[in-house]
């Protein structure tokens, strides 16, 4: 068991060594873009404010009466902040595919050596999966840190009455995108990210189908993914079947969707295990 864990940690570290350049690149873009937003947008606001106050001979109070004070809200909905988030999401979807295909199509065909390592093949699977999990959460953590620092920077550029200050939890509630990425309710946060990582497991299974059976496998994999999607969303059909929106309580509907997601996750793991063990051969 101890040996097995040691191998697993080594595998995870190995995968991390291959991923960290990509991760740090995305993190670098996030920090740079966010910083630009934290500096440029408040400066633009203050310049506009001074210009308007000068032209219309307004006092600060008069200006504030007719114009909204600045806050982290316009920064949080700008491309400087939302752009890196989109980049991170697309990047990790791409990386979730790349993390497997690089083994076959990289400089060296590494998959053979990987599968020859005297460890359970599922350890390879879970090491890659854990990499995605660590990568996503580390980006989220960096975004939280960035917003916290951003609030300090912006509040030092836009002073006094021109600025409405919000703490970090409030900033996350201002923006619809952040409400999805950082749900304020713990159960929603946990549930939505578990379902998200189940989707990664399904994607891995589709890739293994393709690697096992090539074109036929790709078709099977896509079919499997669509079936999983329908299965997870099927509780939403229950009101339609019974012609009653209230046949299930909202809590029951959420629990069913979550439960079905976990079932899909388990099936994906078992299918992946079968494919890795019997169909992907050295």
């Amino acid at each position: 068991m101890k040996q097995s864990l040691k191998h697993f940690i080594r595998l995870v570290n190995f995968e991390f060594e291959r991923m960290y350049k990509f991760l740090f690149a995305v993190m670098g873009i996030l920090i740079a873009a966010n910083l630009a937003g934290y500096i440029l947008l408040p400066l633009e606001y203050m310049n506009n404010a001074r210009e308007i106050m000068r032209i219309d001979s307004l006092t600060t109070a008069q200006f504030i009466e007719n114009n909204d004070p600045f806050s982290m809200y316009p920064v949080s909905i700008s491309l400087w902040v939302l752009g890196p988030i989109a980049l991170g999401i697309i990047g990790f979807i791409f990386y979730s595919v790349f993390i497997w295909y690089r083994e076959w199509f990289g400089k060296n065909t590494f998959i053979y050596r990987l599968l020859m390592i005297p460890v359970s093949r599922m350890q390879i699977f879970f090491a890659k999966f854990l990499m995605i999990v660590i990568g996503v959460f580390s980006l989220l953590a960096l975004q939280l840190l960035s917003l916290w620092i951003g609030e300090i920077i912006v509040s030092n550029i836009v002073l006094g009455e021109f600025y409405t200050s919000y703490n970090l939890p409030q900033i996350l509630q201002l923006n619809y995108i952040f409400q999805i990425i950082f749900p304020s309710i713990g159960e929603v946060f946990l549930g939505s990210y578990i379902i998200g990582f189940v989707a990664v497991l399904v994607l891995f299974t589709v890739i293994l189908f393709e690697r096992s059976f090539r074109i036929k496998g790709l078709v099977m994999g896509i079919g499997y993914a669509i079936a999983c999607l329908f299965f997870v969303l099927s509780p939403n059909l229950i009101p339609t079947v019974f012609k009653n929106y209230h046949i299930l309580f909202d809590s029951e509907l959420i629990l069913l969707i979550f439960g079905f997601s976990l079932i899909v996750g388990m099936i994906s793991i078992l299918l992946s295990r079968y494919l890795l063990k019997h169909k992907i051969t050295v």
């Binding site: 060594e17 989220l140 939280l144 409030q170 509630q173 959420i254």
Partner: protein, 386 residues
């Protein structure tokens, strides 16, 4: 160990960041607790009503819903996640969800419920429960016996002579067990809408809907005509009126009172000079309230005369804060509320007056625990169970 430095570093960074965020979130959470501060009268009346509504947050987003029952506020946000999901802003539906959850399965919280000491009756059309382009013309009725939690379900179809009629929704119903009377909004084949009164005898083995009467197509039901709150008590009277629309204003010339028990229609005297009339029912008695320059005037409706005569009972003096709006009348006591906006918050006061004398029995203001105004919206007010 150094070969794991980057992995350990990034993992620690992630865990520590989320932990700090969690702590910051918990310490930043400010629960807006509410209280009712008695400003005048006997504070024992503070337990005689229930409230529900929303509290607004700093970024003008709706925050927790609140319920005020048994003299205490409960913020729904403080319940578990799954309780929040199943909670309803409407007091009746929420109370039934807590006390009789199995009865509420399949029931729309926005439909009609009549709650009595021993029974709960629910009525809704299929369209109320599941919107369909073509109505199935079915009315679903459910009866709960509170004593033994026994549920009896009935599904009624419109009578056979209703071809061309499409059932849209249940607008009102009255229970005089075993008889139940329904006011249904129907769509007719000539594209008009019509209110029709049907009855059913639930004591029969196979109860059926019987058409009692069609209401003049010019008339509409007047529940919550000028008020955002509606009465939910089981009343034998149905308020109807011809509503005139002039640009952005509504007006009514007179009310027509339908008596479910006697199947009679009675028109009131002209409402000329009576602005924004609200019809309130208290058992066998009917009242009309109207905002006036000096406050709120309450009229008693004398149903023994034809047309029904209105006699002013008393006038509630206007408040410096804003208009007084009637909520309901129960046991000869008028429950009303004031809604006033002071550029910071929309806040409310509850006022209770004796209907016979007009005497103020109670007035209380809804405030935060720190006695500061709280920006909120009142959705429902009802008589508390005794």
């Amino acid at each position: 160990m150094s070969k794991y430095a980057k992995l350990i570093g990034i993992t620690l960074f992630t865990i520590v960041s989320f932990c700090i965020y969690g702590i910051a979130k918990t310490s930043a959470e400010t629960t807006t607790n509410l209280k009712i501060e008695t400003t005048e009268g006997d504070d024992t009346y503070a337990d005689s009503f229930n409230l529900s509504g929303y509290i607004y947050g700093e970024s003008n987003t709706l925050l927790p819903t609140f319920h005020y029952t048994d003299g205490a506020f409960e913020l729904k946000d403080e319940s578990s996640f799954f309780e929040i999901l199943d909670a309803s802003i409407y007091l009746t539906a929420d109370q039934l969800m807590e006390e009789h959850k199995s009865f509420m399965r399949g029931k729309s919280p926005y439909a009609q419920f009549k709650v009595e000491d021993e029974k709960v009756v629910y009525a809704a059309s299929d369209t109320d429960q599941y919107w369909q382009e073509t109505s199935t013309n079915q009315l679903n009725v459910s009866l709960l016996d509170k004593a033994n939690d026994e549920i009896s379900d009935y599904t009624f179809s419109l009578p056979e002579d209703s071809s061309g009629t499409s059932l849209e929704s249940v607008r009102n119903f009255y229970v005089q067990y075993p008889m139940v009377y329904f006011t249904l909004l129907t769509a007719e084949s000539n594209n008009s809408s019509l209110y029709k009164i049907y009855s059913a005898d639930l004591s029969k083995e196979t109860p059926e809907l019987q058409l009692v009467r069609e209401i003049d197509s010019k008339l509409s039901t007047v529940d919550s005509l000028y008020s955002s709150l509606s009465e939910s008590a089981n009343s034998r009277y149905l308020g109807l009126a011809e509503i005139n629309y002039n640009e952005y204003e509504m007006s009514v010339d007179s009310f027509t009172i339908y008596d479910y028990e006697t199947d009679t229609l009675l028109e009131t005297q002209s409402l000329e000079g009576i602005e924004q009339p609200n019809l309130l029912r208290d058992g066998e008695n009917l009242y009309i309230t109207s905002p006036s320059e000096n406050g709120l005037t309450v009229y008693q409706v004398d149903t023994s005369a034809e047309p029904a005569a209105l006699s002013p009972i008393f006038e509630l003096p206007a408040s410096e804060n804003g208009p007084i709006l009637p909520a309901f009348i129960s046991d000869n006591i008028l429950y009303s509320y004031e809604e006033h906006y002071d550029s910071v918050a929309l806040n409310y006061s509850i006022q209770i007056n004796d209907l016979n004398t007009g005497d103020l029995l109670y007035k209380g203001e809804i405030l935060g625990e720190d006695s500061e105004p709280v920006d909120m919206s009142l959705i429902d007010i009802q008589k508390a169970a005794e």
